[in-house]
């Protein structure tokens, strides 16, 4: 298992130029350090650029200014070296491949031989508790199961870093809480660093070692909350007093950060910037 990666963002900003206009600033300069093995959540109102920031870390979008280092290398090199796996809100599974072949996709591209691929796929299916579903097609699985396949695929080549963009956003609350617990278990077993984007405060607090709070557009880091709730976290953790305190603290930071209203986990409110 490779050593978990660190991520270092220095003065990273993103500006979209539009012909015949002033353009849009999605991200104001951001400085952030993610330590190896951490679980960091990015939370903020809709449109604050947290997904853009995630994609900048993954070199899927280029920053307008600033430096991004992943695993000690520029983000571009880290991508070429396959240092990270990514999970989107949509499972993005390939309809024409079975579950097993979906998970083995990155392994095929890395040139692994068939036997090695098969044994790793079996391992991953056990990890996400989907043993027995190898031959199924994505449309035969529920949303939660598809997302688990997506996670298995992201981890199949044991990346040092896992980027997750609101992976449980489309699921119901029960499934979501259960998958949260599973994700923590998987995190501890694989030992990678995770950067996690979400708009749910309880999810961010439950999962993370640190929560990074962002403002409305143009996105800025307006606060970082250390989550000192001990591991391993269980269902009961959600009912501890310290948990509620931290949730409240995050909510306060969000409110102060220029958001028109506080984010509730049950509601997603669209935030308009005051001009």
């Amino acid at each position: 298992m490779p050593r978990p990666a660190a991520v270092s963002l220095g003065g990273v900003s993103k500006h979209y130029a539009v012909p015949g206009g002033p353009g849009v600033t999605a991200l104001a300069p951001i400085d952030l350090d993610v330590h190896p093995g951490e679980f960091v959540s990015l939370i903020g109102p809709s449109g604050c650029g947290k997904s853009t920031l995630l994609r900048i870390i993954g070199d899927l979008v280029q920053a307008t200014e600033g430096q991004v280092l992943v695993n000690g290398k520029p983000a571009h090199q880290a991508r070429l070296d396959r240092d990270y796996g990514i999970v989107f809100q949509d499972p993005v599974l390939y309809d024409w491949r079975t579950v097993a072949r979906n998970i083995s996709l990155p392994l095929e591209m890395l040139g692994w031989d068939r036997q090695r691929r098969a044994s790793r796929v079996a391992e991953m299916l056990d990890l996400v508790e989907l043993g027995g579903f190898e031959g199924h097609y994505p449309w035969q699985l529920s949303g939660g199961m598809q997302q688990r396949v997506s996670i298995a695929r992201a981890l199949s080549f044991s990346p040092a870093l896992l980027l997750m963009d609101e992976p449980f956003g489309a699921l119901d609350e029960m499934t979501r809480e259960r998958l949260n617990g599973e994700l923590l278990r998987i995190w501890q077993q694989s030992g990678c660093t995770i950067v996690f984007v979400t708009h749910s405060i309880t999810e961010a607090v439950f999962l993370s070692t640190r929560v990074v709070v962002m403002s409305a557009r143009p996105g800025r880091v307006i606060g970082i909350v250390e989550i000192d709730v001990p591991q391993p976290r269980t269902v009961d953790t959600r009912e501890e007093p310290r948990f509620f305190e931290l949730v409240t603290e995050v909510r306060e930071r969000l409110r102060k950060g220029g958001a028109a209203e506080a984010l509730a986990e049950e509601e997603l409110l669209l935030v308009e910037e005051e001009r």
Partner: protein, 275 residues
């Protein structure tokens, strides 16, 4: 349960078949008894009995000759060879062209309007000239079939290659995939449903192209020649021409059926929902 649905399906099929035959014979009976002349005069010549048409197949095709069905099946095979060759040529050209256009915007902008315009040339109208120019034979007729095939295949391949979810592309980026991998692992599989839609249109069109191609020249061996031949004998034996058309119809349907079968094997998608 599935068996019961299958039985019901077969029953419906047979019922409709009987219904169509009844419609034919019924219209004929009414038409003849009332002396109907609009839209066309109804008599033994214009609407032979269904059983006459089918029976004619087993009559000798000419004095002391082989039964009609043998002659027609040989003609069908002749035409099928031309159509199949043209179909394969057209489909492969179309596919390669589609891939080329998908990769180069310049090529697309330069060539696509003409590819579209090429279809405004009624190829069936210039079939006589093509066959005369290239010399009547298997190849020249196949060219006509190929022309009819390549356009839908090109357009649909182009659309299909572009149809993949942008996030599936991002996933490929995160694997630092090269263009060849993206093409063969993502874009081509994604284009399969579109490709088969085009092939389902082109397969019967190839048959039409082959038949028309045989008409003007001295190609006697195929269904086109048979149609012209039995058209001359329509006064004495209308059932023969009808029988020829039945065989031509069967040829078209079987070409379509082969593509349908291939689609079932290659494309595994969720069934379309119909309200």
């Amino acid at each position: 349960m599935l068996a019961r649905r299958r039985v019901r399906g077969v029953l419906a099929f047979v019922t409709v078949l009987i219904g169509l035959v009844a419609l034919w014979e019924g219209y004929r009976a009414i038409g003849q008894s009332t002396g109907l002349t609009w839209p066309f005069p109804v008599n033994e010549r214009s609407m032979p009995h269904i059983h006459h048409i089918l029976g004619q197949l087993f009559e000798p095709s000419r004095r002391n000759g082989p039964p009609l069905v043998t002659v027609l099946l040989q003609a069908a095979l002749f035409t099928a060879r031309e159509a199949a060759l043209g179909f394969v040529l057209g489909a492969s050209t179309g596919f390669v062209l589609g891939v080329a256009l998908a990769h180069s915007r310049l090529l697309e902008r330069g060539l696509l309007p003409y590819i579209v315009a090429s279809q405004t040339i009624p190829i069936l109208a210039i079939a006589p000239m093509v066959v005369v120019w290239l010399g009547a034979g298997l190849f020249s007729v196949a060219i006509i079939a190929a022309y009819l095939t390549f356009f839908p295949v090109t357009i649909n391949t182009l659309r299909g290659l572009r149809s993949a979810d942008p996030r599936a592309h991002e996933l490929m980026d995160s694997y630092a995939a090269n263009r060849r991998s993206v093409l063969w692992k993502l874009r081509v599989p994604a284009s399969m449903p579109y490709l088969f839609t085009a092939l389902k249109i082109s397969a019967p069109a190839s048959v039409v192209g082959a038949i028309i191609g045989e008409l003007p020249s001295s190609i006697q061996g195929g269904l086109g020649g048979a149609i012209l031949n039995y058209n001359q004998y329509y006064i004495t034996s209308p059932a023969s021409l009808w029988a020829t058309n039945v065989v031509a119809a069967a040829l078209g349907i079987s070409f379509f059926g082969v593509v349908l079968l291939a689609e079932r094997l290659v494309v595994h998608r969720a069934p379309e929902h119909v309200a």
